[in-house]
Structures are given as C-alpha cells and as structure tokens.
Amino acid sequence: MTPVPVASGDDTALRRRVLRRIASRPTVKGALLVLAVLVAFALLAPFVAPQNPYDLTALNVMDNRLPPGEKGMAGFTFWLGSDAQGRDMLSAILYGLRTSLLVGLAATAGALVVGVTVGLTAAQFGGRVDATLMRVVDFILGFPAILVALVLLASIGRGVEKVILAIVVVQWANYARLMRAAALVERRKEYIEAAVNQGLPTAYIMRAHLLPNSIGSVLVVATVSIAGAITLEATLSFLGVGVPVTQPSLGLLIANGFEFLLSGEYWIPLFPGLALLALILSINVVGERLRRSFDAHRH
C-alpha cells in the first residue's frame, strides 16, 4: 500500500480522495455495482416485477410451487419459480429487497438520531447526566439484541414500522457510546475551549462544533450497521415476529421456504437467501473498506 499523503487540513478534499481510492479497489467496485443494481431493482420493483406479491387477488393457489421457468395460469413466466401461495419468487424478492432496504436505512437513521443525541448530551454535560445516560446504554447493551427485539415485537405486534422501532431500540445504544467517546476527545481540543470562553451558548457549541467534528467515525460505523439492521429484520421475520405473512420480506420468504427443502423445492428458500446474502455482503464490503480507510487517515 502506497503511503497516503497526510491530511492537508482540507477535510473535504481528504474525504473525496479517500472515497475515490476506495472505489478504485476491484472488490469494492464489484460490491458497489451489486449494491447499485439491488437498490435500483428495489426502487423500481413495482414497475419491473411481473406480479404484485402483496396483492392477494394477484395470487393463484393453482400456480403454487412451480419450478423456475414454468409458465403459470396467470400468463407470465415464473423465472424463479413460485411459493406455496402461488407467489412469484422473483417479484417477492424484489419487493422483499425494498422492505429490507427500507428497514435497514430507516432503523439505522432512527438509531443514529437517538444515539448521537444521547451521546453528545452525555459528553457535553458529563457528571450525573453522563453517568445516568451511560448506565441506560449499559443496560440496553447488556441484553442480546435479538432477545430485546423479540420481546418487544411479541408485545407490540407485527408490521414494518414496528420492526423498525424494535431495531432502533436495540441499536441506538451503540451509537450513543461511540458518539460520546468521539465527542469527549473533541471537547478537550482548544477550539472548543475558545468557543466556551467566548461565551457561546452550549447548544450552539454542540451543534456547530462538537457534532460535525466527532460524527465522522459514527457515520462510518453506521454504514456497516445498515447490514446489521437488515440481518436483524430478516432474523425477526424468519422467527415469525417481523412482517405480516401476507407481505413477506426476505427473511420470511426464507422461513416459508425451508419447509420445502426436503421435498426438493429448493427455489423457495434459495433465491431469497442469495438475494439477502448479496445485499448484506455488498453493504459490508463497502462499509468495512470505508471504515478502515477513514481509520487509517485519522491516525
């Protein structure tokens, strides 16, 4: 690896350079391409999917468990086969990608907002506020995420928005801890001291100085966490507490499909599984590379 020139002080230029370097790596290039294709398909699902898999009137039980490439009564070809309800697997996967990405992004964004606010507050005010907030964080992190999410969903019911809420609840604490650590380091720097001595309002210092200068690493971690949130959604749906059965996400499609492994209808669990794998892998490759590069440049 050739040494990278030390930051010239111009942060935007550094960032741009790092991003360009990352994008030039072949694995990352491939991952970005896969990700772009998946996102495009997810966005365009209603236009490209042969069937609306969430519309019960479009399903025909007589078309159920067709092998890939078979033509059904509905008049179109089931390129990836159909499931037990006669749902076109291709369409179900495209719509499932939408759900996965929506949940991943929304839950990460929500957790980020809550976590950053809490972390920043703890770092800024210190003392009792810090101690209280961090004990809450410890408490949340003390439980396995999947357990907390399971209990929560079992009591509030199913639905995409509820899954998002559950993931926010289990993930915000990570960001809070990270944000606090980063902000504590930043707070000791002289320009913050200067701002305090100038008598600037605390809220202003937090917003204008502390937040932008310490959020970088948190944002990088968040990209990796999107994949984590998607996995969590898939797990919860697989366990039957996530999305409703008539609106399957990728996890629920796999759960529905694994009943058919013994009878040889491999396409029902396989294709959603591959789609989920591609999605998570590509996000992870990009996110991980991003994290390592930023780490390398910061130190």
Partner: protein, 537 residues
C-alpha cells in the same frame, strides 16, 4: 483359528444388536403439536388428550375408529331415561399403589367441576349438569342427569380418572356445595406438570415433563390391560415438518406424526421407512362472528359487522375453492368438507349440499347484500396447530380478496391463539374439531351458550338460531338412536343454511415410522404408544 471361531458369534451378536433399533425398548416419537399440560382436565385438546391416555384411564375408552370399548368400566347400561349405571373394573391399582374404586371416579368428577386452572371450561359444565352421582358399592357408579343423556358413555370417555389420594379428604360424595368432602386444596395444573400428582391407572407412568423439550414415560408394569412392548416412551415436540422428517431419516425418532404430505416422496424408495395415512374425523373450519357489531377484526365502511348478513357468509363460503386447497396446499392429504363430520358417521347428512366454487356468483351475492365494495377483515389463525394452518388461512385470504374483501392474515402460536379465542377476541378464526358423532360439534360450537346444559361452550361466534337450538336440544335428550339421528340430520341441514361456519376439509393424518414397526392409524388423530408395536418377524 480359535480366535476367529470366537469372533464369528460375537460378530453375529453385534449384527443382531445393530439390526434391532437402538435401545429397542424405548419408543422415540416426534410430535407436531406439543401437549400443553399433563393435567388431563386442563384443556380438551387432541395432543393433551393423547398424552393423558398414556398415563390415565377413563371409564370408557375409544378404539382407533372411535368406537367405545370398556376401560375402567367393564359395562354400562341406561334405564332409558335419566339414569346410567356403570360397572367398574375390579383389581385395578393406581401407579401409587392405591386401589381404584367408585370414590376415585366421584373425586375426579368433582375435580373437573371445581377446576379453576383449566382453559375454555373443559368438561366442567357437563359434570355440573349432573343431578347425582352415587356409588351403591365400591365398584358400581350410578349417574343421574337432569335431562336424558344418550351420549353419557361417550362423554365420560373424555374424562380421565384421578386418584382421590392426591387431595386431603373425608368421605367423598358428589356434593359440589360442600366441596365433595375434599378438605385440602385441589391439585393444580402445576402439580400435574411437576409430576407429583400425575398418578393414573394407564399403561405408562410419567417420568418427566419438560415443556418444549421432551415428555418421558415409563411402562406401568402393574397395568390392568395388555402391557406395552415399550419399556419407555419419549415424546419430543418438533413443530416443523421438515426437521421432524429429517429426524426420522437420521434415526433420531422411531415414529413421527404429520410429516408434510409433499415430503413423503423422500420415503417412497427407502426400505427403512414406511407410513400410514388415515382419514380423520377432524374438520378444519372458519368460525364467523355472526352476532356482535362492531366486531374486533371485521368492519364495513360504517364500522359495522357485515358477517351478520347470511348472504355475506354464504358468498364467502362460495368464494373458497376447497378442492384447490385440498390438492395444492394439503397435497391431497385432505377431503373437502361440506358438513362438520365425514358423511357416514352417526347423525350426518347422507348428501350434504355441495358448495360450488363460484366467485362470480359470490360477488353477485355480496353486491346484493350491499357489499359490492367489500369490507376489511382480519383472518386469525394458529401457525402450529393444524396441518398447514397458516398456509390455509393465507389461501382463504386470497380467495376472499377475489370477491372484494380486503383480507389480512394474523398468524400466531396456539399458546396465544386459544386463550384469546376463548375471550372472543376474533371475528373470523380458524378451528379444528374431531368427534365421533354429529351432535358433538353442534352442541359445543353452534348451540347458543347455555352453561347449565353444556351447550355452546365454544360458540365464540355468538350464533343464536332458535330453530336450530330447538332441534339440537331435542336431539341431545332423545334416547332412541333412530330418532336422534333424524333430529341431528335436521339440525345439521339447518346449521349449514346458516353459514355461521365455513367448513374447509377433513384432515388425513399421516404417521411415518421405521419399517420394522406396525402402526395403527387413528381417526381421532391421537398419536399413542399403544398403537405402535414392533413388527413380528
């Protein structure tokens, strides 16, 4: 050479041991649906009843075709009116060594009536409806009812007998007001599950019950009847059909219940395994809330309950393609149902009106009822109780959406489902019921609730039709079999006209097992170690 000579018999013994199933004396069974308790009076539910049949005996038993056979009672007769006399078996001992007498039977009936820890009432009201139960001697029981009860032996076949020694008591008499002579606390469901009071006269004894993990039984060597060839039985709940079958193929289980019909192809060419498929009397149906408005999970534009209109209910029934469900979702292991018990069983219609799948006519009927634009409906279903239950509900939701009903499906585990249904929290819910004659379903599910007469205890839909109630009430107290069958047919026809239930199909029950076992399939779907024996060589 001598070493070789020794080695041959040793090898032969080893080969013989390998040919015998591992631990030949233990029968390992994978269940699709786990019993929720060892307490035989906790919940009248097929898996619970099946488990109870191993540990306890009732006065009367039923064979694999649900015919009555003697158990703790050797004979019974009716006086043609309100009185039934049971002759009890002599020389029977409970597994704690106490002899079985009429006192134990009376104690049991009192416990059922006084049971505070059960689900959905059970047989509580049946006992409370009895005028008197007397024991002229230790082995005779005389049951007097308020109204004639032609089905008394069959009803008592559902009540497993406990020993009175599990509660402190004085002289036991059937007097519910004075606690029947019981002075100590009544045994609770927890005590049964821990095993301390799970004492019966059945062919097996409880060794351990660990919820979600395994139920272990050991043979009762003092059993009064034919002794089991199995020293021990282990029931393991495996709710998913795939892993259950995989477990059989891997040799973890000797017998599994309800393998998925679609998976049987895996066993076809494998000489190590076999299966039996038995038509059952269990009808799978949907129960509609026909009374309340508003109702929790169904609403038209005005928030009212459209299921109160019989035309809507009939339209829904017509919109469902039963043949397609039986063929595609059930893989042929089901018979489409047009009444609540298979044709040919006592009191059924010889030719029930077949509801033809006709979405166009159904849409027309909906429009006639003023619901051309449909309404919102949530179908509630279990996802771990009946064969393919949540898949069935989704398919039905699909069919209903074809006639404009905006149907959603809420699938939940039965541990949550049954208590909620008992509280009438649903509007359109799945049900399954197996019985041996036609009055049973109508009495508990369709007749209007009358706790005294034990009518309508499962009538969660609130059906109240005076004409039907009259017919079924009359049938239930008619001692003459011919006349009763005729009344039941009239009641059955009337019930079908009301469309308060949508019958879907009768399940076939499949048991897959090692080829060196003989398994007798039961129409009541119970998986019993008593139905399994090693094949004679």
């Amino acid at each position: 050479m001598s070493a070789f000579r020794h080695a041959v018999p040793a090898f032969a013994v080893l080969a013989l041991a390998a040919a015998l199933p591992a631990g030949a004396q233990t029968l390992r069974v994978a269940l699709s649906s786990e019993p929720t308790s060892v307490d035989p009076h906790y919940h009248v539910l097929a898996p619970n009843n099946a488990l109870a049949a191993h540990i306890y005996d009732a006065l009367v038993d039923t064979d694999e075709a649900q015919r009555l056979v003697p158990a703790l009672a050797t004979s019974w007769k009716s006086d043609g009116a309100n009185k039934w006399t049971f002759q009890l078996r002599k020389g029977v001992k409970f597994s704690n060594g106490k002899p079985f007498t009429a006192e134990d039977a009376i104690f049991t009936f009192c416990r059922v009536a006084k049971n505070e820890t059960n689900i959905a009432g059970g047989n509580k009201d049946l006992i409370r409806g009895m005028k008197s139960i007397e024991a002229p001697d230790a082995h005779t029981l005389v049951v007097t009812t308020v109204e004639p009860e032609p089905l008394m032996p069959r009803l008592l076949a559902g009540i497993q007998i406990l020993t009175s020694s599990i509660a402190a008591h004085g002289k036991i008499t059937f007097s519910l007001d004075t606690n029947c002579g019981v002075t100590g606390p009544w045994p609770t469901v927890t005590q049964f599950n821990e095993g301390s009071v799970a004492i019966g006269t059945g062919p097996f004894k409880l060794k351990s019950y660990v919820r979600g993990s395994a139920i272990e039984l050991v043979r009762n060597d003092d059993f009064w009847g034919e002794k089991s060839p199995w020293q021990a039985v282990k029931f393991v709940p495996v709710t998913n059909a795939g892993p259950r079958l995989a477990g059989l193929i891997a040799g973890d289980y000797d017998l599994i219940e309800n393998p998925a019909a679609r998976d049987l192809g895996r066993l076809k060419d494998d000489k190590r395994f076999a299966w039996v498929s038995t038509p059952s009397s269990r009808v799978i149906f949907f129960q509609l809330d026909v009374a309340r408005s508003p109702s929790p999970f169904v609403a038209d534009a005005k928030g009212e309950n459209p299921l109160r209109d019989v035309r809507v209910r009939k339209a829904m029934s017509m919109a469902i393609d039963r043949d397609a469900i039986a063929k595609r979702i059930m893989d042929g292991a089901a018979q489409p149902a047009y009444q609540f018990l298979p044709t040919g069983m006592f009191g059924t219609l010889p030719n029930p009106p077949v509801i033809r799948f006709d979405p166009a006519a159904a849409r027309k009927l909906m429009a006639e009822a003023g619901y051309a634009n449909g309404f919102d409906l949530t179908i509630t279903t279990t996802n771990d109780r009946y064969v393919n239950d949540s898949q069935i509900a989704q398919a039905v939701a699909g069919y209903l959406s074809q006639i404009g009903i905006r149907a959603k499906v809420d699938a939940m585990t039965r541990a949550i489902y049954f208590p909620r249904r008992a509280k009438r929290e649903f509007s359109f819910s799945i049900g399954g019921w197996g019985s041996a004659e036609a009055s049973n379903f109508m009495r508990y599910w369709a007749a209007t609730l009358d706790a005294k007469k034990t009518h309508g205890t499962s009538n969660y839909g609130g059906l109240a039709d005076p004409e039907f109630n009259d017919l079924i009430s009359k049938a239930l107290v008619t001692m003459d079999d011919e006349k009763r069958a005729e009344l039941l047919r009239q009641a059955g026809a009337k019930l079908l006209d009301l469309h308060a239930f949508i019958p879907l199909h009768f399940e076939n029950t499949i048991w897959a097992h090692r080829a060196d076992l003989v398994v007798k399939g039961r129409t009541d779907q119970y998986t019993l170690a008593m139905s399994v024996a090693p094949a004679k060589k």
